[in-house]
C-alpha cells in the first residue's frame, strides 16, 4: 500500500479517544458540542485569571491543565522531552493571539469545529471550508519557502515553564478556588467535575503526544505531501462523535439554534480561515501547541500565552462573537488579522540572493 495512505493506528486511536472524551465531558456537564475546545477553554482560563471581564466565560479549565501535564509526563517517560526555543517568539505570540481571534469569531478551535460538525451543527461545515481555505493559503507560503528560523536547545527550566504554571493553576483551583473567578451562568458555568476533566485532559495529553495528533496538520500534510496520516485522526474524531451523538440523541442537524454558535456564514468562514492560516504558520493547531509546550518547547509556551492574551483582548474589546453573531469590531479585527498574517508570511519568505 502507498506509504502516504497507510493508516497510522496511533493517530486513529488518539482520535477515537478525543471523540470519546469529548462525549463524556459533555455528558459530565461541559457545554454541548464543547466537550473539548482549546480556544474556548483558554478563553475561560483567561477569564478565571481576571485577564478579561466577561462574566459568563470564566473558569480555569482542568482539561487544559491535564493536556499539558499529560504531554509532559508522556514526553518524559518516552525520553522525548527537550527544552528548546528561540524561533521567533514574539511573532509566535502575535500569531497565537490572531488564531484566538479567528477561533472566537467562529466560536471554536479546529477541534471544536470537528465536534460541532459531529453534532450536526452545519455552521461548522462553513467553518471547515474556511479552515481549509486558510490552510491552503498557509501551504502556499510554505511552498514558497516560508519558515521561522530554527530553535535551539535551552536549559531545562525554560521548557518547564508551562508545565509548572498549569500545576500552580491546579493547586489554586483545588485549594484556593476563591482566588479565581468562576462564572455562575453561561458557558463558563457549565463544566464537568474537576477530576473527570483533569483525567480526560491527561489521557488525551498522553495520546496526542504519542500520536502527534494535530487538527491543522491533517489538511496541511495532504496539501503539501499527499500524506493522509494526520487526517485520519481528524476523521476518527468526527466519526466517533457522530456515532456517539446519534446514540445519545444529541445529534441535531441544522444551522439555527445550535449550542454556542452563530449562523453568519461569511464570518464563520473568515474566522476559521484566519485560524487555519495562522496555525499553518505556527506549524500546529492550538491543541498541538499545548502538547508541544508540555514537551518542553518554549516557543509553543509563548504561543499559548499569546492565545491567552488574544482571548483577553477579544473579550475586553468586544471582538468575540456570541450566539447572536459577530460584532462590528470583531469583523474589523479579523480584517486587520488577515493583513498581519500576510505581512508575517511575506516577511519570513527566503530573501532573494
Amino acid at each position: 500500500m502507498n506509504e502516504n495512505k497507510r493508516i497510522d493506528w496511533r493517530v486513529v486511536i488518539a482520535g477515537i479517544m478525543v471523540g470519546l472524551a469529548a462525549l463524556a465531558l459533555t455528558l459530565g456537564g461541559n457545554p454541548a458540542n464543547m466537550g473539548l475546545c482549546i480556544a474556548c477553554f483558554l478563553r475561560d482560563s483567561a477569564g478565571a485569571l481576571g485577564l478579561h471581564g466577561a462574566a459568563n466565560v470564566q473558569y480555569l479549565r482542568p482539561e487544559i491543565i491535564g493536556l499539558v501535564l499529560g504531554a509532559f509526563l508522556s514526553a518524559r517517560g518516552f525520553r522525548e522531552w527537550r527544552a528548546q526555543g528561540g524561533s521567533s517568539p514574539a511573532l509566535r505570540f502575535v500569531l497565537g493571539a490572531l488564531v484566538m481571534l479567528g477561533a472566537l469569531m467562529f466560536l471554536g478551535c479546529p477541534l471544536r469545529m470537528v465536534l460541532r460538525i459531529g453534532g450536526g451543527d452545519w455552521n461548522a461545515l462553513v467553518g471547515l471550508a474556511g479552515f481549509a481555505a486558510g490552510v491552503a493559503v498557509g501551504v502556499l507560503f510554505l511552498k514558497r519557502g516560508f519558515t521561522f528560523r530554527r530553535a535551539y536547545p535551552l536549559p531545562s527550566a525554560e521548557g518547564g515553564v508551562l508545565p509548572v504554571a498549569v500545576t500552580a493553576g491546579l493547586f489554586l483551583l483545588l485549594l484556593a478556588p476563591s482566588m479565581l473567578r468562576a462564572s455562575t451562568e453561561g458557558p463558563g458555568a457549565k463544566h464537568a467535575i474537576w477530576y473527570l476533566a483533569l483525567g480526560a485532559g491527561i489521557l488525551i495529553g498522553v495520546a496526542a503526544q504519542r500520536s502527534r495528533l494535530c487538527m491543522v496538520g491533517g489538511l496541511r500534510d495532504v496539501m503539501l505531501f499527499g500524506d493522509f496520516k494526520l487526517l485520519y485522526g481528524f476523521v476518527a474524531i468526527f466519526i466517533t462523535v457522530l456515532i456517539g451523538n446519534l446514540a445519545l440523541g444529541s445529534f441535531h442537524p441544522g444551522f439555527a439554534g445550535q449550542s454556542i454558535a452563530h449562523t453568519d456564514g461569511l464570518w464563520n468562514f473568515l474566522g476559521m480561515a484566519l485560524a487555519g492560516w495562522g496555525c499553518v504558520l505556527l506549524s500546529g493547531c492550538p491543541l498541538r501547541q499545548l502538547i508541544l509546550a508540555g514537551e518542553g518547547n518554549s516557543d509553543s509556551a509563548v504561543t499559548v500565552l499569546g492565545m491567552l492574551f488574544g482571548a483577553a483582548l477579544c473579550h475586553n474589546f468586544g471582538l468575540a462573537s456570541s450566539g447572536e453573531g459577530p460584532t462590528a469590531y470583531g469583523k474589523l479585527a479579523v480584517g486587520i488579522g488577515f493583513v498581519l498574517l500576510l505581512v508575517i508570511s511575506i516577511a519570513n519568505l527566503p530573501k532573494e540572493d
Partner: protein
C-alpha cells in the same frame, strides 16, 4: 546532508523534499532533533522509494536514506 535540527514539522520534510527534487540523490543523510520529525522524514523517504535507517546520535537522530 540536510541539517534540520531545531525545525518543527513540516519543515524537515520540506527541506528533504527540496533536496530530493533538486539532486535526486542515491543516498541522503538527514539530521533532526525530535522524534516527530524523525518519523515524518522516514515516512516521506519511504514514499519516495528510499530505504531509511535511523541512528541516535547524542540526542539527535541521523537518518540515512538509500535508493
Amino acid at each position: 546532508m540536510v541539517d534540520a535540527r531545531g525545525y518543527a514539522c513540516p519543515m524537515p520534510v520540506i527541506m528533504v523534499q527540496k533536496e530530493v527534487k533538486k539532486t535526486n540523490p542515491q543516498t541522503l543523510e538527514v539530521l533532526v532533533d525530535n522524534a516527530c520529525s524523525m518519523e515524518n522524514v522516514t515516512r516521506f523517504g519511504r514514499s519516495q522509494g528510499y530505504a531509511v535507517t535511523v541512528e541516535l546520535q547524542n540526542s539527535d537522530y541521523k537518518l540515512t536514506l538509500t535508493k
